[in-house]
Amino acid sequence: MIKTHQLEKTVETSEGSLTILKGIDLEIKQGESLAIVGPSGSGKSTLLALLAGLDIPSGGSISLDNHELTELDEDKRAQVRAKLVGFVFQAFQLLPSLTALENVMLPAELNGVPGARKLAEKYLQRVGLGERVNHYPRQLSGGEQQRVAIARAFASQPKILFADEPTGNLDTATGAHVIDLLFDLNREEDATLVLVTHEQRLADRCHRSITLEAGAVVSDKINSPVIDNTVTLVASNEAR
């Protein structure tokens, strides 16, 4: 699903060029969930941005569902994102002037997909906010806002979901609830999940986790092998 080759990112600063990522080779399979962990400044978010096509690398290549991102301009990458990708961010990134429902409808509306409203209502129902569709973000708690963001991410029925510190702004209990929801939905939709996190507990719930340090992958660990969905479900139920 995602494949990188010798991925590099350097930026120019006043003190010369700074290498953020170097020589990243990575392959993420369809339906796999991958956690990217590592200390602050290790390049986790930069890697996520590159994988999602939000930014372009300084060297190497990225293939997203057979689209070679380095060969596409911003608008083409936007079209790829529209078709394949969903996001959940640490800061939720909901539009404050739109209601929960309108926020969830946004991707479908932007991309001209019919039936946006029905789809949005279904996913808001699924994240437990069916009663609060007409509330504005400022009228919702942090956990609720993140649930709206999750509904928005899945409403575009993405093949790949990127999550950047999805619990970073939430307390432990709320964060756990949000994570359960994220994993449940991900399983139901059979999406590939790429997650940046500080939390080991969260990383451990993924099939696989890689650790970055100073821009390089220092470990790549399989937590549980990817099997087909039903088996994963059984396995995870047994694990509980």
């Binding site: 939000l54 911003e74 936007a78 079209q79 529209a82 996001f87 739109l98 932007l110 575009s156």
Partner: protein, 838 residues
């Protein structure tokens, strides 16, 4: 759909208020002013046709071939005819009865085709308008004829062999023309009675006028048909030939309105630019999120430009309505005095101008900041400090200046004026910007020694050095424009008032003989009427210029240089002119060239009025020969004067030194003010001096004064609108720095700063900015007023000390309070809320 929702939410959230208000004001100002000037133009055209009493007139000294009139009939044109000539009017057939030389005008029943006759039921009485003309067997007499002939309404008078009943007093006809040409009192009669009088014989000096009226197409067709048949004795007159001289004041008012309109739009443009920039900055995050969700740049631009266009359309609709209202207010107060026909509905042009203005304002001012949205990187969802590719500020400024330049050029059609204003704005930008930046940098040093509130304020000013310099420039430009308009308006209105103060002479006495002077002065004094100085007056024919005959000179020097649109007949230029003599130059004349003669000069010289000199292409030093009576007189042009023709005082094209003309015959002229309640004094006066001509100007003066008052009102209304745009600019400008102030204040208060400290420093910062902007504005306003008065409005420039006082105070109070009020929110919002939203 989503775009509209976004627009609606932004609207409800108050994000679009300033942008929309600025657009609306731009449209309203422009539509209102151009509707007004458009309708004024149409009104003046309509009024011009009243001055002709028709749409076209064929003037001849002989009756025309009847087939010409059949042709006009065929084409469906309405027709009327008049004959004018001078004849004696008698009371009774005996030779010892009263008689008076009169200007007879015989008119057909359909006369006048345009406009109406002013009549009255008592001599010098109240004017009533009538669409009728005298029926057969009746005559209408000028007020002056009643005392001169000692008749009353209902009495009989004779013209030639025919007897008529006097049934009305005629005060004026629409096509009477220049007041000074009609020396003899008017008698109006029916043209069908002419044969019975036997006064018109072959060789009589009669002027025939054939009046035509119809639609443009018919008139054009007839004019073309007629053209090949006309010879030198015919004159085909159209509206331009009758255009009444719109006084300088009215022209200036129109220029002022246009100028004010252009500046108003400029100010609104600045407000639009500032508001659009803030709007666009607040949407950076929106755009980043939308892009991360897969929206392309073109999709984003479609959403935002569509929103902007929808906003513009609403602004155009509401703005046009407001503009229409403004114009209606102007007219409702003006129309009674200007006899403008309200049926002349305005064209669509003003609405088109309004719509295009909105569009150009958006393109020039709002588009550059919105183009920035296109370059926002989606990565901003992860890294908020990222901005992406921005439109360079040089491009933004160039678009703004280019846009306002184009609009101004379009409104005024005057490239010089446009370039002058743009240069003025550019110079202000550079000079004021540099001064502001330099002064703001200087605050570093002061800041070190100041108390904490002041230190905080000065530090903040320094930190935002560039931003504050730009803001100071915008503030001072706005204040400058307001000061300029205010000063120009004050001096315009002041000048109008001075021009026609209470007690302006409203009656002229002409044909006063030298022997009558003291008796006239005595009678006036006895009745408590004070008169202006008495001038001698003679009529002279210009016969020879620089050794050439007048005709030859005109052919050689004047005709080749005559503007094509000129309607004056070259052979008539300066055929006969009024002249006077005086030791001193009249106090309201101004020497343009040459020198005035010393007292007692006997040198044969003359002083010319400047327009007269220009028309005949005469210069100081030229030799002229005049014929006064039967005597030729050779003189040299020694000076050229300008004078104010609107002053209602006796004015002369030619002035000679008294000793040069002492042996020539002359009559005298003077003017005096007669209050309305003393109008009947004229009866007594004319009984005492039947040969003196009285010209009544009181109605005209009243009309001019009322128009001036109303136009002043219109000017003030426009000024009011422009002040609103100025205030909008201030609000938009303060708002544009609001977001970063929120953040700073939140951090300061989190660190323990008291509300008072933050608020005090904000008040000081804005007041200091306002003071600086005010001083700079006073400086540039003084320069701009100088330029405008000297070069555009032809007024005399005087220093305005009051500017230097008002400017800084207005700046400090207005900007200080605008900043304080707008920013109070900054300290009243809990810091935690601000920090959470960052």
């Amino acid at each position: 759909m989503f775009g509209m929702r976004l627009l609606w939410r932004d609207w409800r959230g108050g994000e679009l208020g300033v942008l929309f208000a600025a657009l609306l004001i731009a449209v309203a100002i422009v539509t209102g002013i151009s509707l007004f000037t458009d309708r004024l133009q149409q009104g003046i055209t309509a009024q011009s046709s009243h001055f002709l009493a028709a749409d076209r007139v064929l003037r001849t000294s002989d009756p025309v071939d009847p087939s010409w009139l059949y042709k006009a009939d065929e084409l469906g044109l309405l027709q009327a005819q008049t004959m004018t000539f001078r004849s004696m009017v008698y009371v009774g057939e005996d030779l010892d009865g009263k008689m008076q030389f009169s200007a007879v005008k015989a008119v057909s029943d359909s006369y006048p085709l345009k406009g109406q006759l002013d009549v009255s039921d008592t001599p010098f009485g109240t004017v009533v308008k009538t669409p009728l003309s005298p029926p057969r067997g009746e005559v209408w007499l000028d007020s002056r004829l009643f005392p001169l002939l000692q008749v009353e309404l209902g009495d009989s008078v004779f013209v030639g062999d025919a007897e008529f009943t006097v049934t009305k007093v005629v005060m004026n006809e629409p096509d009477r023309g220049s007041v000074f040409s009609g020396f003899a009192p008017r008698l109006l009669m029916n043209i069908d009675d002419i044969p019975a009088t036997n006064v018109v014989q072959p060789g009589s000096r009669v002027r025939y006028r054939y009046l035509f009226s119809g639609d443009n197409q018919q008139l054009l067709q007839y004019g073309e048909w007629l053209q090949s048949r006309l010879d030198v004795s015919h004159r085909w007159l159209d509206l331009r030939d009758s255009q009444p001289r719109i006084s300088n004041s009215m022209k200036r008012a129109e220029q002022f309105l246009l100028l004010a309109g252009a500046l108003g739009v400029g100010l609104a443009g600045v407000a639009i630019a500032l508001a659009a920039r803030r709007y666009s900055e607040r949407h950076y995050d929106y755009v980043a999120i939308m892009k991360s969700l897969g929206a392309t740049s073109s999709r984003i631009m479609t959403i935002y430009t569509t929103n902007l266009l929808v906003l513009a359309m609403i602004a155009v609709v509401i703005g046009s309505m407001v503009g229409w209202l403004i114009q209606t207010v102007f007219f409702s107060v003006l129309m009674d005095y200007m006899s403008i026909n309200m049926e002349h509905s305005a064209t669509f042009r003003p609405y088109i101008i309004g719509s295009v203005t909105a569009l150009v304002c958006l393109m020039a001012f709002a588009l550059p900041p919105l183009l920035n949205l296109q370059g926002i990187s989606p990565l901003r969802v992860l890294r908020r400090d990222l901005q992406g590719a921005m439109v360079s500020s040089v491009v933004s400024y160039a678009m703004g200046v280019g846009g306002i330049g184009l609009l101004m050029l379009w409104y005024s059609g005057n490239i010089q004026l446009t370039l002058a204003i743009l240069a003025g704005i550019a110079a202000t930008f550079i000079i004021v910007g540099a001064a502001a930046w330099y002064l703001l940098r200087g605050s570093t040093h002061m800041g070190m020694q100041a108390g904490s509130t002041w230190r905080l304020a000065l530090a903040s000013m320094r930190r935002r050095g560039y931003q504050n310099a730009v803001q100071a420039v915008i503030f001072s430009l706005s204040i400058m424009l307001l000061l300029v308009l205010f000063m120009v308006r004050s001096s315009l209105i002041e000048e109008w008032r001075i021009q026609l103060p209470e007690g302006t002479p409203n009656h002229f006495l002409m044909n006063v003989s030298a022997e009558e002077i003291s008796a006239v002065e005595q009678l006036l004094a006895d009745n408590g009427v004070s008169s202006e100085p008495i001038f001698p007056m003679a009529r002279a024919r210009l016969v020879n210029i620089g050794g050439m005959s007048r005709e030859q000179w005109i052919k050689q020097e004047v005709l080749p240089n005559m503007p094509i649109e000129s309607t004056s007949r070259p052979e008539n230029i300066a055929r006969e002119v009024n002249l006077t003599w005086a030791y001193e130059m009249p106090s309201d004349n101004r020497l343009v060239e040459g020198t005035w003669w010393p007292p007692g000069s006997t040198k044969p010289e003359v002083s010319l009025e400047v327009e007269f000199a220009e028309r005949l292409r005469l210069n100081v030093g030229d030799k002229l020969v005049f014929q006064i009576g039967s005597e030729p007189l050779e003189v040299e042009v020694s000076s050229i004067r300008s004078l104010n023709w609107d002053s209602m005082k006796p004015n002369f094209f030619l002035i000679f030194p008294p000793k040069v003309l002492k042996d020539y015959p002359a009559t005298y002229i003077t003017s005096f003010y007669l209050p309305p309640d003393k109008k009947r004094f004229l009866n007594q006066f004319l009984l005492n001096f039947p040969t003196i001509t009285v010209i009544e100007m009181d109605a005209v003066i009243h009309q001019i004064r009322t128009i001036v008052d109303q136009v002043s009102g219109a000017v003030e209304l426009v000024l009011g609108l422009i002040i609103v745009s100025g205030v909008l600019v201030l609000i938009a400008s303060v708002q544009s720095s609001l977001d970063s102030r929120f953040q700073e204040s939140a951090i300061l208060r989190t660190l323990g700063a008291k509300r008072g400290l933050v608020l005090g420093s904000l008040a000081i910062e804005f007041s200091a900015l306002g003071l600086l902007a005010g001083v700079l504005a006073a400086f540039s306003a003084e320069l701009a007023v100088f330029g405008l008065q000297e070069y555009l409005l032809n007024m005399t420039y005087t220093m305005h000390p009051v500017l230097w006082f008002i400017g800084p105070i207005v700046g400090m109070v207005l900007i200080g309070s605008a900043g304080y009020v707008t920013c109070r929110k900054v300290v009243n919002t809990p810091p935690v809320k601000v920090l959470r939203e960052l």
